[in-house]
Amino acid sequence: MPDVTKTTPAEAAAETPVVTMKPADGREAGGARSLWSDAWRDLRRRPLFVISALLILLVLLVSAFPGLFTSTDPGSGDLQKHFLGSPNLGHFFQEDWFGYDRQGRSIYARVVYGARNSVMVGVGVTLLVTFFGGLVGMLAGYFGGFWDSLLSRITDVFFGIPFLLGAMVVLNAFTDRNVWVITGALAFLGWTQIARVMRGAVITTKHADYVMAAKALGAGTKRILFRHVLPNAVAPVIVVATIALGTYIVAESTLSYLGLGFGSDAVSWGADISDATQDIRNNPHTLIFPAGMLSITVLAFIMLGDAVREALDPKLR
């Protein structure tokens, strides 16, 4: 499918990003640029990418070292400050910056300390589903035949169960719901999306000339899979996984709203948002700040995924 807007032969021949990519070894070769370095040059100049990357770095920093951003204990409540006033937006980084919640706890401190649990769930689920889903999709796509039928049917079985519903069933069985339990429950049902994307990408890649060449040279299956197929099929998976990371964070807050997320003693955005929904009418500030932080984080991951997708896809340039 040649593209009318471009005339360079390399790009005109390009049909999908996976096909145009050169093997990882060719990356440093003078003159010829790989898809990734091309994408990187393109990305650095996109304001959306720079903003979302900086936001993500900030959120990661906050979740790793919350003590750097506030010295207030998120758990200590002073009932005299019960819903105290509206937020003092001028008091940057002070205890009363975002106001106080029903129990007189500093909302700013809770937003800072809540980042860790939400981000850990998002990142943890993404790593797990990328690994397992990627593995299943790669094996199904590469070996085809019986293995493809078997693994694809298993994927279909898990895909048939609604995501949120399955997570509810699993989480309902646990009374002590910590980060690992929630991460496991979401990953248990979430890997099918990545598996499908990976399978499709591997099927496109495995018929490429360089895979045939590697086969003809007598490379083993393991070498072909990990040196030739995987690096060239991984681009769409990374895009989907980045965007999915944000949706896992949203899923955690939704589960908290249903009473199936973190317990009340844990500090997390989801728990605070669902807590604040009771006071939405008279004290909307208890809802706006945790929900706003969560949305900004999710937005950053989705925008990053979008920017990477556009940079990798020659048709969209």
């Binding site: 049917r153 309902n172 929904t277 929900a291 999710v298």
Partner: protein, 309 residues
């Protein structure tokens, strides 16, 4: 075509058995005892617990319970609830029409508004309207749906009084408007994004240049050439979303007090009534499998190059 459909229907059988088995195992392998829960906080009588379990076949090994369940299922028997001893089929037939109405409204909303926004944004790439649509869809995806639900309820229901804050009569389309809008909001955002990306990819294709060169009116180019060729990923999403809209309405139905499938599921999970969850998921899986078959058949309508022998 006929052979293709027959083959697909046959392929559905293992997936159907697998999914029901998976949800059956998930529900039953997890701790929590619905029979003991009948006693509430009082200590249950062990003899009575054993009697009830024996009557229900709950003391059998898990695989035997599954076989029993499937045997009943193919005869249209979904079992009975543990608390109240009501046939689950009755509960399902009561809840499904409500959810189907709600899902149908949300789905229509996704289809019409989502595709329209996506086409406008994709055709006017880079303009203000494109940026606005893109930002709006990203915002919808990144804010948890219950925040929208409660916010809309507060603004349109309580403050402005345009609609009733909760649904009192589930047959009244006017009352279902707001819940349907909230339910379809996320799907709408995905549909708009998919349409926009797809349109952007296709707008520089050869057939587009040909259509312009032939001097066709712009509207015909966009609707008959560009849109038709861009619809395949959108149709895929819309197809799988039908089942998700029916089963995924737990939040929306809870906020707006709709007594549909989501409500039934939430009750089932909270009371650990495994048979309700398995029954509802069974119906949802059938809906999902048939919808995905329909989607694959629609591909051939949209793109004549795709043929099913």
């Amino acid at each position: 075509m006929g052979r293709y459909v027959a083959r697909r229907l046959l392929q559905m059988i293992p997936v159907f058995i697998g999914t029901t088995l998976l949800i059956f195992l998930m529900v039953n392998a997890l701790p929590g005892d619905p029979v003991k829960a009948l006693w509430g906080d009082k200590p249950p009588d062990p003899a009575q617990v054993a009697q009830i379990k024996h009557d229900r076949g709950l003391d059998l090994p898990l695989w035997e319970q599954y076989l029993h369940y499937m045997k009943g299922l193919v005869q249209g028997d979904f079992g009975k609830t543990i608390a109240g001893n009501r046939p689950i089929l009755d509960e399902i037939t009561q809840a499904f029409p409500v959810s189907m109405r709600l899902a149908a409204m949300a789905w229509t909303f996704e289809l019409v508004v989502g595709i329209t926004l996506g086409v406008i944004a994709g055709v006017r790439r880079g303009r203000i309207i494109d940026t606005t649509v893109t930002f709006f869809t990203l915002l919808v995806i990144s804010v948890p749906i219950f925040v929208f639900g409660l916010g809309f309820q507060l603004i349109f229901g309580n403050e402005l009084g345009w609609v009733k804050p909760t649904v009192q009569d589930s047959e009244d389309f006017q009352q279902l408007m707001l819940p349907a809008l909230v339910l379809g909001l996320v799907g709408l955002a995905y549909v708009a994004r998919l349409t926009r990306t797809s349109i952007k990819e296709n707008r520089t294709a050869d057939y587009m240049r040909t259509a312009v060169a032939k001097g066709l009116p712009r509207q015909r180019i966009v609707t008959r050439h560009l849109l038709r060729n861009s619809l395949i990923p959108v149709v895929t999403y819309l197809g799988t979303d039908i089942g998700a809209l029916m089963g995924g309405a737990v939040i929306t139905e809870g906020i707006f007090n709709v007594t549909g499938v989501g409500n039934l599921l939430f009750q089932g999970i909270a009371r650990r009534e495994g048979a309700i969850i398995v029954g509802v998921v069974t119906v949802l899986v059938i809906v999902y499998l048939l919808a995905s078959l329909l989607v694959d058949l629609l591909y051939a309508v949209l793109d004549p190059r795709i043929r099913y022998a």
